[in-house]
């Protein structure tokens, strides 16, 4: 992809793929084939024009912004708390061998657990408000950040570390100038994944029981067989994800400017 395509050509091709999919969907749900009925009944599959119309109507109203706000808040909280926990525990485990060795099997077991089974428990503990969703997102984000911070500290170049020590740095200075930046690098390299999982936690939590948010909106539409509403909710979710991902990429490029692959572009 690098070099072979310029941005314009790439964008045109990306749009063409989307349009092709929509056209196919439109044709399959509207062109009569057998007994004057289309191949895909609109009741089950809706039609792209209906979905777009519904989405546009939603965005024009106020209700959707409330749902988006709730989901965004849950995602932010799940990410912030999960990342903080992952950093603290990651640091502690990487710097204290014994701690890591003792907790190793429990960390692995907890991480292997499918989070969906926890959702009803969290709903019992934290209620149907935002905190049960934050808790679900936390369990996803925490492990990603934790593993990356742990790895980042373990993989600090021995030469860089020896050099910093020879410069006379004490433990606190090593933490600030060597371990912390190394851990952050790994954390940021997993930023897309962890932000994505924070959102998954929020939406799945809402889907399983809540009174607001995108997951709730989709679930609500499903319960009355409103397929257009479901697809429209998914479309809004997709737009939301792209916006968040763009913001993450901008933050990443800003913070990791020293990394070889994010800088030094030729004009």
């Amino acid at each position: 992809m690098k070099g072979a395509l310029n941005r314009g050509t790439l964008l045109v091709l990306q749009v063409l793929v989307g349009l092709g999919f929509l056209l196919l969907w439109h044709l399959l749900t509207t062109i009569p084939v057998i007994d004057g009925k289309p191949l895909l009944p609109p009741f089950f599959f809706s039609t792209p024009l209906d979905v777009l119309a519904r989405t546009a109507k939603d965005f024009a109203g106020t209700e959707i912004w409330r749902h988006l706000g709730i989901t965004l808040l849950e995602t932010e909280l799940a990410f912030a708390i999960g990342a903080l926990g992952g950093i603290v525990v990651g640091f502690a485990f990487a710097r204290r061998e014994l701690l890591a060795a003792v907790f190793d099997p429990y960390v692995k077991a907890a991480n292997a657990l499918p989070r969906v089974v926890l959702a009803p428990i969290f709903a019992l503990w934290f209620g149907l408000g935002i905190w049960s969703k934050v808790a679900l997102g936390f369990t996803l984000v925490f492990f990603i950040v934790f593993f990356n911070v742990y790895q980042g500290i373990k993989e600090v170049s021995p030469t860089v570390l020896a050099n910093a020590r020879m410069l006379g740095m004490n433990e606190r200075q090593l933490l600030r100038h060597v371990y912390w930046p190394a851990a952050l690098t790994w954390m940021f390299s997993s930023l897309h994944t962890s932000v994505g999982f924070a959102l998954v936690g929020a939406v799945v939590g809402e889907y399983l029981g809540s009174a607001g948010g995108l997951g709730y909106k989709i679930h609500e539409a499903e319960s009355v067989f409103d397929v257009t509403g479901v697809f429209s909710g998914m479309l809004i979710l997709a737009i939301f994800v792209i916006v968040i991902d763009t913001v993450v990429t901008m933050i990443e490029n800003r913070l990791l400017v020293w990394r070889p692959d994010t800088a030094a572009k030729t004009v």
Partner: protein, 296 residues
Amino acid sequence: MSSGHSASTPAASTPAAFARPNPAAQAVRFAGLDITFQLQTGGVHRAVSDITLNVARHDFVAIVGPTGCGKSTLLNAAAGLLKPSAGTVEINGTPLSGLNAKAGYLFQADALMPWKTAIDNVAVALEPQGVKRAEALERARAWLTRVGLKNFADRYPHMLSGGQRKRVSLAQMLIRDPQILLMDEPFGPLDAQTRQIMGNLLLSLWAAGDQAGERKAVLFVTHDLEEAIALADRVIVMSAGPAAKIVGDFRVELPRPRDIAEIRTEPAFHQIHKAIWASLRVEVQKTYEMSAEAQQ
């Protein structure tokens, strides 16, 4: 390394004069040093054995020896990065415990913090001494100018060439003004021309300390005999490992200031080279034969 003028006349030279040294006048003093590593496979590897060596203050000492002879191990012991299995390391007459605070270390591999710009890498070296950041940055800028990187202060290490990174490392080491410089094949990864330029830069910075009356002691490890002679006052030859020993100790009586590219053409240089190589080539040969046997 050219072996053309080697074999015929062994030891037609001046082995170093051993003055009985006053311990406190020695920057670094190894006595009966023995370093043995515990291997993960269960056995042990004796890297160096029974090393006794005095490095006088203000002396530039190069250590040469075949690959894997424990040259770097010796340097790490002087830095306090490695604890000797037996024997002692003394710095300025006091036994070393923990890291050597008097020494600066220039590593062979990249040792700069990749997330800091050139100037930040240099300035951070002053933080342990409690220098204020504004002053540290000012002094770092002066040092970057001295090593010829005035216009590269805001570059990150990956945006610099290998030679430029070494210059930053040199500034980072020297800004702390250490009394002893430990250098582990620092110019090894660089190309031939860059090595010569870096060698001359090192010599000029070292000689600048001379005028201030505080020339530093240098322990310079290299596998390049020509580099060792061009730079040093004294060349130590180590035997093939394991359990490497010191097998040669030569004074290099070449006038200073030197240009390390030009000095190689002088007849005196060739004489010294011939003498040291006679002692070194036996060890290189041994290492070669051992590795050939190991492959069979």
